[in-house]
Each structure stands twice: as C-alpha cells, then as structure tokens.
C-alpha cells in the first residue's frame, strides 16, 4: 500500500520584488523580481530526512519559508498529508501550524533570554491550546526535554538560556517544537552555530526523532558532509532550482550534475592524504534577478556546450544513475 507522502512540493516558485530606486521609478522601468525559488518539486515521506543543500542565495531557506507560508508562493502547490495548503488563508493555516515546526540556525537568537526553559516550551502549547492544566503541561514539557536529550529534565526547567551551552539551547528549541507533536520539522542549518564536538549529538537527536517519531525532517544545510551522513536523500539547489537529487549515497558517490561534482570536490576532507585537486569554480553565483538563459549554471559550467545557453534542462534520470530516484538537470548527464 502506498501512502500519500507527508509533504509534496510541486513547481514551487517564490519571488521577491526589488524595491525600485528613484531613477528606476522616474524612468518607469518594469518592476524587477528576485527569483528566489524557481520551479522546485520534491516530496518527503514520514520518517525520512531530506537535505536541501546549496550555497547562500540558492533559495534553500526561501523554499522552507514558503512551505511554512511565511512567504506566499507565486505559483506551485504545497501538499501536507495530501491536503493542498497553498491557497489556505493564514487563519485556516493556524491549526496546521503545529504540524509544521521550524528549528532555526541560531539558538542564541531564537530563545527569549527572559524566558526560563519551561516557559519557552510552554509558550507554543499555550498558543495552540495543548495541555488542559498546568500540571499536564508540565508533564509534557518534561517528556519533550527528555526526548530532546536534556535529562534529567527537572534540572533544566528553571534555567535561563544564558545558563545553557549552545548545544543545550538548540535542544530546548527542538523540545519546544516537539511538544506540538509535529509531522514535519524544518531544520535550517541546525548545527552550524554549534561547536564541532556537540554537532553530532544534535544531529543524532534529529536522526532518532524521525526514525521513531514518524516525523519527516527537511534539513537545510550548506555542509555536504553532514548531509551525506545524516540524510536519506539530498537535493542540491542552484539559483532557485534543484539541479540534482537522489539517495544521499548516490548523489555523493555518483554525482551527475557538474555543479554537484564541483561542490563535492571542494568539500575539505579530514584526511590530509586525501588532498584531491579541488575543481574551483570561478566567480560567484549570478544575480537571481537576472537569470542566465538556458541552463542557469552554464556561465560557470566547465563542460558547457552551445546548447546549454539555449535549452533549460529538466530534472530527469541520468544515463549513469545507479539508484532509483536519482535525477539531474543537465543536458549532458
């Protein structure tokens, strides 16, 4: 029996208007748009972790914000548990919000410094009307802290964020999401602000939650090594598009898109004997206001041919794919 995936995103497009300057306004130039997300499609099952990988400005955070409807999509559909939530009003979305929770990058910013741990976790319950009594809520808070790996939970309840380490703070924000028993966690660079020695712990926590919590996790990261280790599938984004996606192992070991290949080649390896020659792309990602024609990677692509500047390649299974579900958007793959 096949169930509807937890999250289905189809052809999602998000645009931000560019505020025109005085000269543009006087010359009545047409309004410009930043094409932050430009035709992104993917799906996520329960118990699965999908990593959205790419450089800054590639649209990975905009994708998450659009799924959460913090930003309205310009087109496309978002389905949660089979229900189309793209057109719902903010009021209609409210009961669904507890099913969609976000973990932010910086636990030093995302916790209110004046809230004790217990209050920080109680707040979302009050908003969503969970837990009838104070005592019941306290039980839920303790259970969530335990699940987030802060035990004995009683020791943390009355502490303030400044009394916690970065890793502990991030666990508190995870606990604050868990009390709502969400179906989908969106984790935006959940460990990039943490020290190396505690990162693995927070990532293993997320890994465990989706395995036994029946939860789907969309992790946004720029760190391919982390994605390779913890995600089931990886989707690589470039300039608002997914250029390659597939099972994590397949994408890392058998990359087919030249951008993925370049990105993988520059990931520093901890073994000094593996000093491979990195394939360094010149320049930086072009401006998402004025997208290149054809394949948007062609101006920086080391193997581009003439056709690449004219044809926009769709995501399709590459000839050299060795696992099901591997897709790349390259004319030559």
């Amino acid at each position: 029996m096949t169930k509807a995936p937890l999250l289905e995103v189809e052809n999602l497009t998000t645009q931000y208007p560019v505020r025109p300057g005085l000269t543009e306004r006087l010359a009545r130039r047409p309004r410009l748009w930043v094409h932050a997300v430009d035709g992104v499609s993917f799906s996520l099952a329960r118990g699965e972790m999908l990593a959205l990988v790419g450089e800054s400005g590639c649209g990975k955070t905009s994708t998450a914000q659009t799924i959460l409807r913090m930003v309205d999509p310009a087109s496309g559909t978002i389905r949660l548990n089979g229900t189309d939530i793209t057109a719902l009003s903010q009021q209609q979305l409210r009961p669904l919000r507890r099913k969609l929770q976000m973990i932010y990058q910086d636990p030093y910013e995302s916790l209110d410094p004046r809230f004790r741990v217990a209050a920080a976790i109680e707040e979302p319950m009050l908003v969503h009307g969970i837990g009838g009594s104070r005592a019941e809520r306290r039980q839920l808070i303790i259970a969530a802290l335990d699940r987030a790996g802060l035990s004995p939970a009683e020791q943390y309840l009355e502490r303030y964020p400044h009394e916690l380490s970065g890793g502990q703070r991030q666990r508190v924000t995870i606990a604050a999401a868990l009390v709502l028993s969400p179906d989908l966690l969106l984790a935006d660079e959940p460990v990039s602000m943490l020290d190396v020695s505690v990162r693995a712990g927070v990532l293993s926590l997320l890994d465990g939650l989706r395995r036994d919590g029946n939860m789907g996790i969309l992790m946004i990261t720029h760190d391919l090594s982390t994605a390779a280790h913890f995600a089931d599938r990886i989707a690589v984004m470039y300039l608002g598009r997914i250029v390659e996606q597939g099972p994590a192992r397949e994408v890392v070991r058998n990359p087919q898109h030249p951008y993925t290949k370049a990105l993988l080649s520059v990931v520093p390896k901890p073994d000094p004997r593996q000093r491979s020659a990195p394939q360094i792309l010149q320049g930086e990602t072009p401006n998402p206001v004025d997208l290149p024609s054809g394949c948007r990677f062609h101006p920086r692509c080391p193997i581009a041919i003439d056709r690449c500047s004219a044809e926009d390649p769709p995501l399709r299974e590459p000839a050299a794919a060795t696992s099901a579900g591997h897709q790349a958007a390259c004319l030559l793959a």
Binding site: E55, S56, S165, G167, D195, V196, S197, V198, R199, A200, G201, V202, L203, S204, H222, D223, L224, S225, T226, A228, H229, F230, V252, R253, A262, L263, L264, V266, V267, P268, K269, P270, D271, P272, R273, R275, P278, I280, L281, E284
Partner: protein, 325 residues
C-alpha cells in the same frame, strides 16, 4: 633558528568580579618560512587569544607571560613600543570577520594603501600602485581598488582583507577563521589563495580555525588546543592517522566525512571553566580513556615521535610499557 617561536605563552584576562580567566596556558610552538601551521580547537580554547598576543593586540585587561621571538628577537618584551616595530611589517593578521570590517565610505584601494604610508613602506602614487599590485596578487583586478566595499562580494572582501594584511610585506600571516562565513566554493578559493601566497611569497601561515578538515587540507603541521593549552602538536598526517591525545581522536570522530562510513559521535560534556584551577588533566571529565593519574596529575606536552607531541598520561604509560624495565 625558527622564523617564529612562541615560548610558554600565558594570557590571563581580568574580570570585574571573580578570579582571572587563564585563556592561554603555556602555549609553545615554532614555525619556519613558508610553513603552514594550523591552530585548531573549539570556541574558548584560546586559539584567538594566542594569535592576538602575537600581534600585541590583547586588551588592557590581559596579563601576559612568556616570550614571542621573531627571527630570534623577542617582540613582546618591551611592551607596545617593541611590538609596534614588528606588527604588520613582520607579523600581520587577517582578523575574524575582517571582510565585514572594511570602512564602508572609503575606496578599497585607499584602505590598502593607508597603512603603507603609516608604516613608511610607500606613499602617494607609489602606495596606490602597490595597492593595485596587491589586489592583483589576491586575484582582484587592480582597477577594482577604485570601488567601495559594498560593491564587492563576500569572497572579494575577504581577498581585500588579505591584501591589506600583506601591505607591509610581512613574513608571518595569522589568519583567524578566514573562511568561516563563506560558502564552500568561496572557501575553496580563499584556501587556495592562502596556500599559493605561502608558497610563492614564503609566508609562514598560522591558520586558526575550529574546522579540522580545513586545516587538514591546507596545513603541514597543526596544534590542537583545549582549555587554553596545546594538547597535541604534530604533522597533520599523524594527527589524523595516529592521534595520541583522546581529544584529537574524538574531535576527528565528531567531524562528518563526506565518504565516511563510520558513526559520527559527539563529545559529551562541556569544556571546563578557565577562571579556576584545574586539577589534573583538563579534558578528563569528557575523556573516554581517563584513568587514575588523570585526576591528580597535570599531563605535560611530551614527545611521542620526533616532531609529534601529546599531553596525555596514556602516551607516557605506553612509552613506559615499551621501554625495558
């Protein structure tokens, strides 16, 4: 004689209340021309404090002990007066977040030329010409010197910050987390640039970072710091393939490897407070191999192989077992 030698460097920071924080506790290392040396550790381990001390740029609340020698001459002994003669001309630094510290209202070329006049390296047209050459050296067209920082991308601003540090032809470049805020592709470009500069100009590079793989790719040797001390120092290859301090081993085990199959394991616990005396080994509460002597006796950095040192009782115990009774 080494180009740079740090001998038993200690730094204490006075706090308004409570006892001073011992941020660097007996740091010693040496490096030669053209060598690339990594200083690795987590936040608060004393790596930035160490390099700021080399520049003589610690705040007035800091108390310093130990010696820093450049070409055999002590640069810190005479306080600000003696260090000023070396700062930027012998030892230069790319600060953490330097790319965001450029003056937004001055052209980039002007900002690179300014310290040259101050240090008597060049002035006027000559300084401007040299600023252009430096920009070319770091991979930016000389003409871009006429532009303002906001017209530069992050990677270009970081290159400009490196050019600025090179303005007075230093022999030693200290780079504090030079790629932390950058994307992997830009990080690769900057690391490539630093490697090239050190081999082409014979610059000795001290790369300060929390990122072990970055050090592994760039540096020949590295020191791993924990709680203000160097706990292991040696060739990068030995640190990865034959680490002798459990902290080094556990730090590598906590670092995901792109092609790694093994489990990534975090290190339990948190680093100790540095405002009180630490009995025994500072890493003991988090160590997976601690045994009786670790609680009472502080392990000193001692050689395990030529050029490879570790501060761990285990290595001494192993050495003791290996030698004939």
């Amino acid at each position: 004689m080494s180009l740079l030698e740090v001998r038993d460097l200690h730094v204490w920071f006075d706090l308004p209340h409570g006892s001073p924080v011992h941020a660097a506790a007996g740091v010693s290392f040496a490096l030669d021309e053209g060598e690339r040396f990594g200083l690795v550790g987590e936040s608060g381990c004393g790596k930035t404090t160490t390099v700021l001390a080399l520049m003589g740029l610690l705040p007035p609340t800091a108390t310093l002990a130990g010696e820093v020698l450049v070409n055999g001459r002590s640069i810190l002994a005479g306080g600000e007066d003696s260090v000023r003669a070396h700062r930027w001309t012998d030892v230069a630094m790319v600060f953490q977040g330097a790319m965001n510290a450029l003056n937004p209202v001055k052209k980039v070329g002007w900002q690179i030329a300014e310290p040259m006049a101050f240090h008597g390296v060049a002035r006027g047209a000559a300084a401007r010409r040299r600023a252009g050459e430096l920009l070319e050296l770091v991979g930016i067209p000389a003409a871009a010197g006429e532009r303002y920082p906001h017209e530069f991308s992050g990677g270009m601003r970081q290159r400009a910050a490196i050019a600025m540090a090179l303005a007075c032809q230093p022999k030693i470049l200290l780079a504090d987390e030079p790629t932390t805020a950058l994307d992997v592709m830009v990080q690769a470009q900057i690391l490539d640039l630093l490697t090239r500069l050190s081999s082409e100009l014979g610059l000795a590079l001290v790369l300060v970072t929390h990122d072990l793989p970055v050090v592994a790719q760039v540096c020949d040797r590295a020191a791993v710091m924990y709680a203000g001390e160097i706990v292991e120092l040696g060739p990068m290859d030995a640190l990865y393939h034959a680490p002798r301090h459990p902290y080094t081993r556990m730090l590598f085990a906590a670092t995901p490897d792109l092609y790694g199959e093994g489990k990534v394991a975090s290190i339990p616990g948190t680093p100790p407070r540095l405002d009180r005396d630490i009995a025994g080994c500072a890493f003991r509460p988090r160590c997976d191999s601690a045994f009786a002597p670790c609680a009472g006796e502080h392990p000193e950095l001692s050689p395990v192989q030529p050029g490879h040192e570790a501060a761990c009782h285990l290595t001494r115990q192993l050495a003791g077992e290996g030698s004939p009774a």
